[in-house]
Subunit: 425 residues, 2 copies
């Protein structure tokens, strides 16, 4: 958005809770995160304020609470007993306060405001950038089309599995498992996020053991199963490992986004030659308290700006804490338009099998997704190939609008999956 | 620690809450974060488990709650009504699961466990590493002694201030302010975390405008005031900006730790020629819900391993949400022994003036600290030099065990600070 004076701005939306009036607190946030100071000081001229001070553009009260959600020593000291006002606020920041710098953008939209004593709840809900500002960040290089092209999966979900046990397999044992799942017709394989470059199975040895197996199946299949090798590590280590994967003919690298950080992902994107699989482990810490942290809509935009191509969103009826509605909202947000930035491919995982296909499809209205199943594929009673087939059949039924159980009558792999894993709503 | 079989391990301590028995849930965490799987699978041999599976080493129940702290769809679906058991658990992980890789360490100790449906509370409290494992990480290069040497402050607190307004000053205006605070005898100046490399005041121009001013005062003072230039940005951008600072004679760089990330800090440490000032903006998001996220003890160890030299800890009676007891615990943890890793210098800030000196000193039993005051220095009624003097006098009184108000009777700058800002307990 642009103001009457030609100041370019980006918009940030927060859910807040405060014992002070919502409008006043919104002004404190806008001030603290731009040119405001506690003391009026000489340098804060009207000209500087017009250029640099953030503006409150909207305040929408929702409800009041008698007790504060988060503790604040300030409300404690002032013996504030409520009510604690809750609402959504939107703040417009000058683009020129930040420039094309993702970590600095975070400091502005998610920095010391989490510390403010006036706030007993503060959650970053969403943000939006002018298209030309968004273009100053890298964004995905491959996205959905690039992932499909490299995986050789023109349509339908990209069906994947995860190397298990997560930790402890030697390179040769890993290669054996890759051989088995490739023989079963898998599209995609990922390292577990727990394995990166441990002494008992060094990254280079894993690539050397696994890639010839994948190449052999690629010759047979006429498409190369995509393997997301977990290159999570130091900056130079990630570059070395990325290069090893590419030199060996690999088509994907994976990173633990939260723990390498935004600057590291942006760097990987700058030289990356294959799609980047973004693992969000640790995400619960950012989101499980609904009055604190981030909503996924904002989170996926950050990593999308930094250049991730595939992003985990959990799964319908997952084995984790998350309810289906936020899983669905997360997956949709990955595909939703955002300032001209390419969408990312949502990755469903956690306790998934064919039974979740219809709702997963319904949530997206699309098969532009990756569907990871561990037990749902490897533990399928008909064998791994039947496990892979069952998931494809589940999505065929969904895309054709056919009832899953009806479809299963003529598709035994699907029928076995429903019998073994349940999972259908 | 080492097991009877010679397996090297590191220890992690969590506060958890769960409707299941604590012991069982601790086993789920240990399994999920090492070699465990939901299905028993062929690859998880006894030999692999002995090598790779994490061990629960301690479970200490604390109390029960009738209602869950965090929502979990699993407890919801199972209609669990409690009690929800709370306690501390310690888990020993094999060092060889991870190796010398900080982001991979985080995935292990702070990854998908935050997602577990069995948990309605999960907080990383602390961890400890064997000394030889800790030595595989960089650790601080300069720490307290290196910071003191470069700032020319052999004893007492390093007294600092922050460029304000945070945002909007031109390079020339910034240099003018630096000139004023150097003339007043300041030890340390930092950029506000909100300014990095914006279009209206490019980083290179700020360094070019500021450093000649600092050099001029250095000639006069016989010591060079330390300026923490905020190099937060992309990987290559940070390196360019670090090099610019060093070439211009600068003695410190600053980064927003959470938003550049662990891999980026480790990289900066690998080539850094000056102390690294670590800003923790966004920290509230990681810690404000006491049943989620991180305790600062664990957080400072991470950044200490990665190589930060100076780390923000908030301040006594700060203007933020945080109570004094965690501020004090945080500052102490920065100086506490940790696996042979050099301590980091705690940085106090947020609404600080001379009045907080006695408790700050009492909390540490030391003046190995940095004390940042904005208004408490620049807004001092006797002028900036009196502001700087008042803080030094406050710490002199504290170190001599003299009552602050008594000391103020013979120290007018201190007296004026107490009159203007209050702040003494």
């Amino acid at each position: 958005m642009m103001t009457a004076t030609g100041r370019r701005e980006f918009l940030v939306r927060y859910a807040i809770e405060t014992p002070e009036p919502l409008e006043k607190t919104a002004e404190v946030i806008a001030g603290e995160q731009s040119s405001g100071t506690f003391l009026a000081i000489a340098g804060e001229t009207d000209e500087l304020k017009a250029r640099a001070r953030a503006r409150v553009v909207r305040v929408e009260p929702t409800d009041d609470r008698a007790e504060p959600t988060l503790f604040s020593a300030q409300t404690g000291r002032r013996k504030r007993t409520g009510p604690f006002h809750r609402g959504m606020v939107e703040i417009a920041f000058p683009v020129d306060n930040v420039g094309p710098n993702l970590p600095a953008l975070m400091t502005t939209i998610a920095g010391n405001l989490f510390e403010l004593g006036e706030l007993t709840g503060i959650r970053l809900i969403d943000f939006d950038l002018p298209d030309d500002y968004a273009r100053s960040f890298p964004g995905p290089q491959f996205g959905i089309a690039g992932t499909r092209a490299r995986a050789g999966v023109a349509k339908g979900p990209v069906v994947g599995t995860i190397i298990k046990p997560s930790i402890g397999l030697t390179p040769a044992e890993t290669a054996d498992l890759v051989d088995k799942v490739c023989a079963a017709g898998i599209d995609f394989i990922k390292d577990d996020e727990l394995i990166a470059n441990p002494p008992y199975a060094p990254f280079a040895e894993r690539v050397r053991a696994v890639m010839p197996v994948i190449e052999r199946h690629a010759d047979r299949l006429g498409r190369k199963p995509m393997m997301a090798f977990n290159i999570t590590g130091g900056i130079d280590e990630m570059r070395r490992h990325h290069d090893l994967v590419v030199e060996a003919g690999g088509t994907c690298v994976m990173v633990s986004l939260n723990w390498i950080g935004l600057a590291a992902l942006d760097h990987l994107r700058s030289y990356g030659a294959v799609p980047i699989h973004g693992h969000r482990n640790g995400w619960g810490l950012f989101t499980r308290e609904p009055s604190l942290g981030f909503a996924f809509t904002a989170y996926q935009k950050l990593w999308r700006l930094a250049g991730v191509d595939q992003l985990h969103v959990n799964g319908i009826r997952n084995k984790f804490w998350e309810p289906d509605e936020t899983v669905i909202a997360s997956a949709r947000s990955c595909l939703a338009p955002f300032a001209g930035v390419m969408p990312v491919m949502p990755v469903f995982s956690s306790g998934q099998s064919a039974g979740q296909a219809p709702e997963t499809y319904a949530a997206l209205g699309s098969t532009d997704l990756m569907f990871m199943a561990g037990g749902g594929i490897i533990g399928h009673p008909g064998g791994i190939a039947a496990g892979v087939a069952s998931i494809r059949e589940g999505f065929e039924a969904a895309a054709q609008g056919v009832d899953l159980r009806a479809y299963a009558r003529t598709h035994p792999a699907l029928q076995q999956a429903l019998d073994a894993f349940g999972g259908a709503a």
